[in-house]
């Protein structure tokens, strides 16, 4: 039996198509997912992300414990700032990708993917042993709403933000604020490639805040958006999805995200779980074992998760699609894929993506030509 978010009744009353996702009953779309996608690109969208995990790490040694547990030095974050990072296994495989918010000197909020939240909480608790820090999974007590899109700041202002407003809140920063009378931790983060905010609130306040944001946002073109739009938005923005691009089988370097791994300062290496394996991945003489690339299909059939990437010339398998969808913004099918295999061989380590030519995707038996492009597919104008 899947869990429901505090907004389940709202979704049902809106006529949402509901779907099981990561053990939760979630809205897939409310009407047309393409229209929801375009609303976020052009105006604003309202998302229920209450399935995400909220794990609090607190105590005098909370920063030190997280530095040991994660591939980034979150001890370097100033209070009120956030960082995208990962929890890796000792062999360098990715256990989850996370956003860590430093709420105060001794208090951190770790936001984990729904499917991994319990594992992340357990792993953080194990890795915090011996540190003066406490790990608490408070996912059930929290709801998370996101307002994403170029008009997000106007929508929040219209809903009513107590005090100085949120206009000066920087990207990857967060602070407590009262929005439409609801106490929230408001973060300028998201998963759509647009400006936007994520609002962490008490589960009991979810419905009140949703209704206030929906009403305030309507004149700005805000509409509720489901998981289908969220997936095409993040795909266009080149953002990885755990379970697709990120798994325990890949390292951050395979995914082109080696920059999140902090090995320490020159002459002052730091220790963290997975360091040795990740160092080896970074220093591999022949480049990473695989490489994540963007694909744009020339035809209209859509490369999807799990489809083989092949050479157009002889059909040799050289990779696999991790995510694919018709892109509402580009008007053609796009995909992310790992390229591996000898047919491409060493060149994948040091050749610009657009120089890799002659590939196709095996779409249910037919080889459909694709072009390899640099990620992301879409970048907003700032």
């Amino acid at each position: 039996m899947s869990r429901t978010t505090p907004l389940h009744g709202v979704h049902e009353s809106l006529g949402a198509t509901m779907v099981d996702f990561a053990g939760w009953r979630m809205p897939l779309r409310y009407g047309s997912e393409s229209a929801e996608h375009r609303a976020v690109r052009g105006a604003a969208g309202l998302f229920d992300l209450s399935h995400m995990g909220e794990i609090f790490v607190t105590g005098p040694a909370a920063a030190a414990a997280l530095d040991h547990a994660l591939v980034s030095r979150v001890s370097r974050l100033a209070p009120g700032r956030a960082r995208y990072t990962m929890l890796c296994a000792a062999d360098g495989g990715v256990l989850d990708d996370l956003i860590v918010y430093r709420l105060s000197a001794e208090e951190f909020l770790v936001v984990a993917n729904a499917a991994n939240a319990e594992r992340v909480a357990a792993e953080l608790a194990a890795r915090a042993e011996g540190y003066d820090a406490a790990v608490a999974d408070r996912s059930a007590a929290h709801a998370l709403l996101a307002v994403q899109g170029p008009r997000s700041a106007e929508v929040l202002a219209a809903a009513g933000v107590a005090g100085d407003g949120l206009g000066d809140l920087r990207y990857y920063a967060a602070r407590p604020a009262k929005v439409a009378g609801v106490e929230a931790l408001v973060a300028r983060t998201g998963y759509t490639g647009e400006d936007g905010f994520e609002l962490f609130i008490a589960a009991d306040d979810a419905e009140r805040l949703w209704r206030a944001l929906a009403a305030a946002g309507e004149p700005y073109g805000l509409r509720p958006a489901g998981l289908a739009a969220r997936d095409t938005l993040r795909l266009e923005a080149g953002m990885p999805l755990y379970g697709n691009e990120l798994t325990t089988e890949v390292t951050p370097f395979d995914a082109g995200l080696g920059r999140v791994v902090d090995f320490g300062d020159p002459g002052e290496p730091r220790e963290f779980v997975g360091r040795a394996a990740l160092e080896a991945a970074r220093d591999a003489a022949d480049g990473p074992r695989r490489r994540l690339v963007g694909l744009v299909a020339r035809g209209r059939r859509v490369p999807r998760h799990g489809y083989p990437v092949v050479t157009a010339a002889d059909g040799a398998v050289v990779g696999e699609v991790t995510s694919g969808a018709p892109s509402p913004t580009l008007g053609k099918p796009i995909a992310m894929a790992y390229l591996t295999g000898r047919a491409i061989g060493r060149m994948i380590g040091n050749v610009a993506d657009e120089r890799i030519e002659g590939l196709a995707v095996d779409i249910r038996g037919r080889h459909e030509p694709v072009d390899v492009v640099d990620l992301p597919f879409y970048r907003r104008n700032r």
Partner: protein, 130 residues
């Protein structure tokens, strides 16, 4: 969203509808509103070629949406005599008008049709599931 199910059509278990079974040998085939609601926004349609011979129960095309792809099955045997080019050019017609402008192709029937469901039977098949 609620699926409308026109009384006068025949339905396959694979969510195609068939029109014109009673009054002629050329039938029109499309997919049901229920199917389009399950699919979401349709972005690509592949239809059989005009002049091709089809067997009842064969996959003859595909309908692709943001989240999924489905085969289109032909519920009758015969020859494809016309395809809806408008729906190839603008697949969203399948979402906006599945029983009208969103029709897919026409077949001159030669043999037996699949056992088709009545509107009532099709409603029962899809009840409580949308």
């Amino acid at each position: 969203m609620s699926s409308s199910i026109p009384e006068e059509l025949g339905y396959s278990k694979e969510h195609e509808w068939v029109a014109g079974l009673d009054d002629g040998r050329v039938v029109t085939i499309g997919i049901t509103a229920y199917a389009t609601e399950q699919l979401g926004d349709v972005v690509y349609v592949q239809l059989p070629e005009v002049g091709s011979t089809v067997q009842a129960g064969d996959p003859v095309g595909e309908v692709e949406s943001t989240k999924s792809v489905s085969d289109v099955y032909c519920p009758v045997s015969g020859e494809v005599v016309e395809i809806n080019q408008a729906v190839v050019d603008d697949p969203s017609l399948i979402n906006s008008d599945p029983y009208g402008e969103g029709w897919l192709f026409k077949v001159r029937t030669t043999g037996e049709a699949e056992e088709l469901l009545s509107a009532e039977e099709y409603a029962a098949l899809t009840a409580g599931d949308s």
